[in-house]
């Protein structure tokens, strides 16, 4: 495997991008999960689909856009989707969750129109939906790396504010933190991570890499920092195992990564149950 990675650039790209995503998706995912925004990640990934499909259609029909990397329009759609979700959430103050199905179905709706307008990119589309080991270009890798720099800088500089906001947003606002702005930037950064992760995990499964490793970590951690570290560990195990399996068995990496993370989750749930019953047995 290592020999293959050293020999083929596409594998280097896929593994490097995978390792980066394995850090940033669960890292941001911890904040998404504790803030109960998991479904927003799903809505944004479907909006990204509209951007990608739109870009693929444009590159077919407009000659000057033939070489346009679909990731750019995917990122733009995802960021626009995050802004729209916020607008809808403030418009429907008492039904904030309505924003999710509205944006999600808008994403699929536009995506379906662009897919049916353009013909002959079903192979490309399969890669975008479920991830691909072979489709990550050097340019894609650079975009993912740039997104990672933005995410890490954001978390590093705003960690304490994000923590307070996640734990208790009313307290954050009462104590004079710029909660509104931090939330707004958080949503844009989330949109960037979703668009960036999509090349490896695929649009339909991207939110799972942000939530399942976190759900797994939360079963066994006590502190917030532990949860972050363990989520990243579970994320990386899922990405590496998933990519290797996908390469050897010629499978979609999105599927293998997500199934690995589910397997880890089940393993940790079983471990926790055994530990609890052992403790009970020791007490009795």
């Amino acid at each position: 495997m290592i020999e293959a990675i050293l020999s083929y650039e596409f594998l280097q790209n896929a593994f490097a991008a995978g390792l980066i995503i394995g850090v940033i998706a669960p890292l941001l995912g911890v904040f998404i999960v504790v803030r109960r925004l998991s479904l927003i990640a799903d809505a944004l990934s479907h909006v990204t689909l509209a951007g990608i499909a739109g870009s693929l259609y444009l590159s077919q029909s407009v000659a000057s856009l033939a070489l346009l990397n679909p990731l750019f329009l995917g990122i733009a759609a995802s960021v626009a989707g995050s802004v729209l979700i916020e607008r809808l959430r403030s418009l429907y103050k008492h039904y904030e969750e309505l924003a999710i199905p509205i944006i999600l179905s808008a994403g699929i709706g536009f995506g379906a129109i662009f897919i049916s307008l353009a013909e002959g990119f079903s192979n490309d589309l399969f890669g975008y939906l479920f991830g691909s080991v072979s489709a990550v270009s050097r340019e894609d890798l650079l975009i993912v790396a740039a997104i990672a720099v933005v995410v890490l800088a954001f978390i590093y500089f705003f960690f304490k504010e994000l923590f307070v906001l996640s734990f208790d947003d009313e307290y954050a606002r009462a104590s004079g933190l710029p909660a509104k702005w931090i939330h707004f930037i958080f949503m844009i950064v989330t949109a960037l991570v979703i668009a960036g992760s999509m090349r490896i995990v695929g649009i339909l499964l991207v939110s799972s890499l942000m939530t399942i490793p976190v759900a797994t970590a939360m079963r066994v951690t006590k502190s917030f920092k532990q949860t972050i570290i363990l989520s990243i560990v579970f994320g990386e195990i899922s990405v590496i195992t998933g990519l290797v399996t996908a390469f050897y068995f010629d499978l979609a990496p999105g599927g293998t990564i997500v199934v690995t993370s589910i397997f880890l989750l089940l393993l940790v749930i079983a471990y926790k149950k055994i530990m609890v019953s052992l403790k009970k047995g020791a007490i009795a």
Partner: protein
């Protein structure tokens, strides 16, 4: 002359068409332990939220430490403890230390990491609420009363001059309510922290407070608790909307 810590000047507030507060004026001076009392829907929590800048009044203005609330920057001088059930996600994976250190976020400032002294400051705040042995515990494992003490420690860690509490004993079991108010009284007495409290625990809190405000859209009484008995029966009825029993205690009275 020292400016009042909070000076509410003729404020009103409406929820859509419904009037919640009508021409409220009152001052909170340094050292006060003020309980805001009133029936459900009387505007108590709304008044607190306006004091905290979470809501804007439709009329009137508020001064904090002598400065117009719109221009007031030292929010860390005001500690806030909300109703636990309102905003806290009880399954949150965090230790007591992490939660209390969150109280230093504003004071530390944007783009700065928490200082090295944060650990010691958290330990001191936990000691003030009698929770020094819980530093490494997960916050979700604690009882309702213990969690509320943690939230008070979070408010105290930034060394506020005033603490605003919105029904802090919701979710605290009855046996611990007395001890909880004793702790608040000692913060007021020994650490000279001004306290503003919205509560329904009239019986428990009366012995510990210095001032009372009776609110029901408008202020029906505001003064030393010892003067509360000067309220006429008509005033009491107007305040609570129906006849309320007047119970006399040695050294004070309350409704």
């Amino acid at each position: 002359m020292v400016a009042p810590l909070i000076d509410i000047k003729d404020i009103s507030f409406e929820y859509e068409q419904t009037k919640a507060l009508d021409n409220i004026s009152m001052k909170v001076e340094e050292g006060d332990f003020l309980a805001i009392l009133g029936p459900n829907g009387s505007g108590k929590s709304t008044l607190l939220k306006i004091m905290l800048g979470l809501m804007k009044p439709s009329k009137g203005k508020i001064e904090l430490f002598g400065i117009d609330a719109k221009n007031f920057k030292n929010r860390e001088w005001i500690g806030y403890v909300s109703q636990k059930s309102n905003s806290f996600n009880s399954g949150f994976p965090a230790t007591v230390e992490e939660v209390v250190a969150g109280g230093l976020a504003k004071k530390t400032g944007l783009f700065h990491r928490l200082p090295k002294s944060a650990h010691q400051e958290v330990a001191e705040a936990l000691e003030a609420v009698g929770m020094q042995d819980f530093m490494g515990r997960s916050v979700s494992e604690l009882s309702g009363g213990q969690q509320q003490r943690i939230f008070i420690a979070r408010a105290l860690v930034a060394k506020p001059k005033i603490l605003i509490l919105d029904e802090p004993t919701v979710g605290v079991d009855h046996q611990n309510v007395q001890a909880f108010y004793d702790m608040l009284a000692s913060l007021n007495r020994d650490k000279n922290i001004t306290l503003v409290l919205v509560t329904h625990d009239v019986d428990t809190v009366t012995d510990r407070i210095t001032h009372v405000a009776c609110l029901n859209q408008t202020i029906h009484f505001h003064g030393f608790k010892e003067q509360l008995h000067t309220m006429s029966d008509e005033q009491r009825e107007a305040w609570y909307g129906h006849s309320v029993r007047k119970i006399h205690h040695i050294g004070g009275s309350h409704a």
